[in-house]
Subunit: 294 residues, 2 copies
DNA sequence: ATTATTGCATTAGGATACCTTATTCCCGCC
DNA sequence: GGCGGGAATAAGGTATCCTAATGCAATAAT
């Protein structure tokens, strides 16, 4: 019982002719004969009386034609269901983000996306990079934006925006000229916790310069970027932090940047997703929107 | 886009497994893989994420599954529609019949059929054999019961009941012993019209005996059997008529039978239908009921 | 770590169903 | 009786579908 047979049956019924049906379906007349015959054998009942000049459907055919048309319609519509679904850009979109992207990047980007697609409801889950990566690897989150690239074979990283780490000090700090990375390492430092992408990038920079992280003069660890900023403002020490996080403070003079002459402090943000999972349409649209530069 | 593909898709969705689906559908796992792949290519979207140990439907699959199940259900039901239809033995059943069957046979048989299937509405069209045969040949009637076999390549005859023509005379008639067919031919005769099966059978009998119908002493022609009977009772002459038509009159002595020693006056009734048309189910059931001896 | 186990993908082969062309058959119509 | 329209039949090629065997990746077990 194939959809083909049903299609042929319906066409013959419509035209009351095998050859007309063949024409409509771009088949030959013998093929149509064959399919009708196959259906008749399967149903164990004659569907058409083939008179010399005309073809007359039997009562059974008349009973079946409605059902046949319904089936054809449904099958035709099968593809279209997807089209409808794709057009409908609304729904609940959960995005994981590490601290910097979640706090200083996504609020702006989600706002602009929502201006384009107003019926989208965003939920931004903010945590540190390690936690977001784990959640994506573990299928708890479908998409995430993080500031570090940690080993995980489950996760696919796509470079997103550039960022730069800078060293910041309290406004009272007396800046020397031409400070290098090794000078920084001598100062008292306030840092984020272990899983932080910012911290990890800083560790990598130190490593490249041959400086052991253990030997830093770390005076406090905080679970949030804001806490770090507050601590620096209070004069606990300096910190190394995303330029994006302290843009406002630098502008109004609450913090000052320590320019470092010898280290490349650039870093990347990444859009991440599970390597094997297909993103739902809305999710994919958002990712593409971000990657295309919004 | 084949029904097969959809069936496989639905099964994989149900079991979240290609191999379980293969088992359910009595296919092999590669076949299932192939079909899913074909569907995915046709729809240009991934339907399942194949993780190592589990298969997870994508959002698109979730959207399609409802439609898929609806299609499958409809296709499964396609055959059953016929079953339902066949069970329903009710409706309007038009049967053509020549005079004798229509008057003396069908009333009894339709009554017994209706005791079995009470929701059938009979309509018996009575005319002479020629007219009924023409209507069946011309698709005006689907089924008929007649007392003569006339040439028509459109019509299929199935022998039904036996009948016997007998000669009847008014009660006042003075019977001689050992009357033969040639004696009958001498008497004044009352007859049915040209198209009558009874008349035609009588002509055939005469012909076999070498008697020319033109030489009969015909005194009246009537359009109905009852009229003939009345005429005989009134003493207009004798007649040759179906035994079934005069059963009651013979019993209560209103007519008397003239026994004829030398002629075989047996004849057949036939159930007829168009050679090329398929009978609707109710019609076929009734024909089978009659042919099976009720 | 190494080795099973599970589960999907891939490949090659053979059977089957499908479609086509050519031809025949049937019936109604000149 | 010959003609013509329309379906059935026959024969052949091809695409499809299925099986069996193998590959490959991710767990789970030793």
């Amino acid at each position: 019982m194939d959809i083909h047979h049903i299609r042929v049956f319906a066409s013959v019924y419509k035209h009351k002719s095998f050859s007309k049906a063949a024409e409509e379906l771009h088949l030959t007349q013998p093929t149509v004969s064959d399919h009708v015959k196959a259906l008749e054998e399967e149903l164990k009942c004659r569907l058409f009386d083939r008179l010399s000049r005309k073809v007359i459907p039997t009562r059974e055919a008349a009973v079946l034609i409605g059902r046949a048309q319904a089936i054809i319609e449904k099958v035709e519509g099968f593809k279209d269901v997807l089209g409808e679904f794709r057009k409908d850009l609304s729904g609940h979109l959960v995005v994981g983000a590490s601290t910097i992207p979640g706090t200083y990047i996504l609020p702006c980007l989600t706002a602009s996306f929502r201006r384009k697609y107003p019926s989208v409801l965003f939920e931004i889950v903010v945590s540190d990079s390690r936690a977001i990566i784990d959640k994506v690897a573990g299928d708890e989150l479908l998409i995430g934006i993080v500031g570090a690239r940690l080993e995980s074979r489950q996760v696919d990283y796509k470079p997103f925006l550039d960022d730069e780490l800078i060293a910041v000090a309290p406004n009272s700090f007396e800046m020397r000229k031409n400070m290098g990375i090794r000078d920084i390492a001598e100062l008292p430092i306030v840092m984020r916790e272990q899983g932080s992408g910012t911290r990890r990038e800083f560790e990598k920079i130190l490593e490249k310069e041959g400086i052991d992280f253990q030997h830093l003069n770390i005076v406090a660890l905080f679970g949030s970027t804001d806490a770090v900023k507050q601590a620096v403002k209070e004069g606990m020490g300096i910190s190394v932090i995303s330029r994006r996080a302290v843009k406002d403070e630098l502008k109004c003079g609450m913090l000052k940047e320590i320019r470092i002459k010898d280290a490349d402090m650039k870093r990347q943000f990444y859009i991440i997703n599970h390597r094997k999972r297909t993103l739902p349409h809305l999710c994919k649209m958002f990712a593409d929107y971000l990657l295309a530069g919004c």
